[in-house]
């Protein structure tokens, strides 16, 4: 009873402190103009993907074919032109943002959960467990991640879920290593010892004390990895291993435009720009977060 009370008080205190920390981080982040620009673009992209159906009807505009207006350049009616089936490119890019962002976020979540768990266990328990897990991670690391994704997707068959899984699994090693390194630095801190003294078990210690205290490098890595997951998705779709037609996906749109490079370069130009803007925004935010979370690193 008494222990539970103390435990509650400790956690409450932690929550207050964490809120304070978040405020401080936000204050530092706000000063970084580039990071705020990245954040603004990202918020806009998320809003666009949420309201994609309001902006363009999926069945009537995004996937409906009309060959009478195929391969048209940008005009008043079709701001970014039309593709080889006469579909509006802007509408497809807007709906494609849904696919790209969700694949990026879910793939990263998969790798974060698997990699994070492996890294936390390896770092916390050490010894043989650590050795076993990290050797497995070494094996995953020895295969280039794009190649591993290609192998997994071609084995499981191309679908959105398999794509997320493939990209997620291939970035498990980086999370495992980051989380392990962070766990190693915090596991001998006094507050972990204190938690153990008041009777917390290993699982509680890892989840409520160790993980919250190694969030900084993980948050930075997440923002950067969502970007590379989006790049990998478009790369796999480009190779024909990604999302199947007629679902609009940026990489698949780019790949579809390859046959019309000479006469209709806008088919490849605009999806590429959409990818670049998204990745740029995520990277700017990621860099900004790194500086805000760790003022020591800021020059």
């Amino acid at each position: 009873m008494e222990a539970a009370k103390i435990n509650g008080a400790v956690q409450e205190g932690g929550a207050v402190k964490r809120r304070g920390q978040a405020g401080e981080i936000w204050r530092r982040l706000k000063k970084n103009k580039m990071a705020m620009a990245g954040l603004a673009v990202l918020v806009l992209l998320i809003l666009v993907s949420i309201f994609a159906d309001v902006l363009f009807d999926y069945n009537e505009i995004v996937i409906k074919q009309d060959t009478s207006i195929r391969l048209q350049g940008p005009s008043g009616a079709h701001w970014l032109g039309t593709d080889e089936f006469g579909r509006d490119i802007l509408a497809r890019l807007v709906h494609g943002s849904r696919v790209s962002l969700s694949v990026g976020v879910i793939a990263v979540s998969i790798s974060l959960v698997i990699g994070g768990a492996l890294g936390a266990i390896a770092g916390f328990y050490g010894g043989k467990t650590d050795n076993l897990i990290m050797r497995f991670i070494d094996i995953l690391l020895a295969v280039p991640s794009l190649l591993l994704s290609i192998t997994i997707v071609s084995a499981l068959g191309p679908s959105i879920f398999n794509l997320m899984l493939a990209i997620g699994v291939s970035s498990v090693p980086s999370y495992a290593r980051i989380v392990r390194a962070s766990v190693l630095t915090v596991k001998d801190q006094e507050y972990v010892e204190a938690a153990r003294c008041i009777g917390a078990n290993n699982f509680e210690i890892i989840v409520s004390h160790i993980i919250p205290n190694c969030m900084a490098p993980i948050i930075v890595q997440v923002s950067l990895k969502v970007a590379s997951a989006i790049l990998s998705t478009s790369g796999l779709s480009f190779l024909g291993l990604g999302i199947k037609a007629p679902t609009p996906e940026w990489g698949a749109m780019l790949s579809g435009g390859r046959a019309y490079l000479r006469n209709a370069p806008h088919l490849t130009l605009f999806p590429g720009l959409a990818i670049i803007i998204t990745i740029l925004a995520l990277n700017l935010l990621g860099d900004g977060l790194r500086d805000a979370l760790d003022p020591k690193l800021k020059k």
């Binding site: 497995f136 094996i139 190649l147 290609i150 192998t151 790369g235 024909g240 990489g251 490079l261």
Partner: protein, 308 residues
């Protein structure tokens, strides 16, 4: 030092076993019957059965894997299911093409990245620094397959200056090397800049300036040499990655390298070819990492002392 090298090479063996097992296992999960695929469309049931027996495909995956590894130990990587050609010969034929492209790409990357990175750091927040860093950010964000296509549109289709694909003559290297090199250049530039920034604030740089060493010599002899270690690591890792075959770039430019070979093999479930490629990749990548570690010792005498 040699003890360390031998130890690192021995550590490669379990990794190789793990990697081949992992890839074998994943490939065995793929849908479709391998024997039917080898026999080709419209083959009779008996032919398919015979092939299944001949290739040992009727056995459990673990037995197949065991047999593969046994043959590998005796230096036999098997034959391609598709082309029936020897796997080792095919990969050995494609590897030099990938290596040549990797060499020119990393050269492009370093030629762009080092000067910009150094100038950016020595003149922080100047025009060169700002433009350089924006360019580097754009370089990281640009998918190289898109850049490749844009180069093809401009230089092959519109201007007609360069061939759009294949490997004929020095002209055919330009676009693939730029496509691959600029992406790597972005990373190397950022690393050079941040590493140099850290070093130029050190006391020994102030000392060098204070005793009247010319600025050029301070940068070249005192700062650059100390800043190079992380830069060399990045260059080494990028080069290792390039040797692994730039899958997408090789596909776009129809480059007859390992990357394209591997993707085609994975797509057509050509297990022996994929395994051969993956083994080659793992060895190359590990050897490059080892070489980078050895290179440190040459750049930094402090590290060399540790090996003794």
């Amino acid at each position: 030092m040699s003890k360390y090298i031998v130890k690192r090479l021995i550590m490669l063996i379990p990794v190789l076993i793990g990697v081949t097992f992992l890839v074998y296992f994943i490939l065995s999960m793929s849908p479709g019957d391998t024997a039917t695929m080898i026999a080709g469309e419209g083959a009779e049931a008996e032919t398919i059965e015979a092939i299944r027996k001949e290739y040992g495909l009727d056995q459990p995956v673990i037995a197949q894997y065991g047999k593969y590894m046994w043959n590998l130990l005796r230096g036999d990587m098997g034959r391609s299911y598709l082309t029936k050609r020897d796997v080792f010969t095919t990969i050995a034929g494609a590897f030099p093409n990938t290596a040549k492209l990797a060499f020119w790409s990393i050269l492009v990357a370093v030629a762009i990245a080092l000067p910009i990175g150094i100038i950016s750091a020595t003149r922080q927040y100047s025009m060169v620094d700002n433009v350089g860093m924006v360019a580097a950010l754009l370089g990281v964000a640009t998918p190289n397959f898109w850049l490749g296509l844009m180069l093809i549109i401009l230089f092959s289709l519109k201007l007609g200056w360069l061939p759009s694909g294949g490997m004929n003559g020095w002209q055919s290297y330009i676009m693939p090397a730029i496509t691959l090199g600029t992406g790597d250049a972005a990373l190397i530039t950022r690393m050079t800049r941040s590493s140099m920034l850290e070093v130029v604030r050190q006391d020994y740089i102030r000392t060098a300036r204070a005793k009247g060493v010319p600025e050029k010599a301070v940068i070249r002899k005192h700062a650059l040499k100390n800043a190079l270690i992380p830069v060399v690591t990045v260059i080494g890792l990028q080069f290792g990655g390039l040797l692994g075959g730039a899958t997408l770039t090789e596909t776009i430019f129809a480059w007859p390298g390992v990357g394209r070979l591997l993707v085609d093999s994975i797509k057509s479930k050509d297990t022996p070819m994929v395994l051969g490629g993956v083994i080659m990749l793992t060895i190359t990548f590990s050897v490059i990492n080892l070489l980078v570690d050895i290179l440190y010792a040459f750049i930094d005498p402090r590290i060399k002392a540790q090996y003794r």
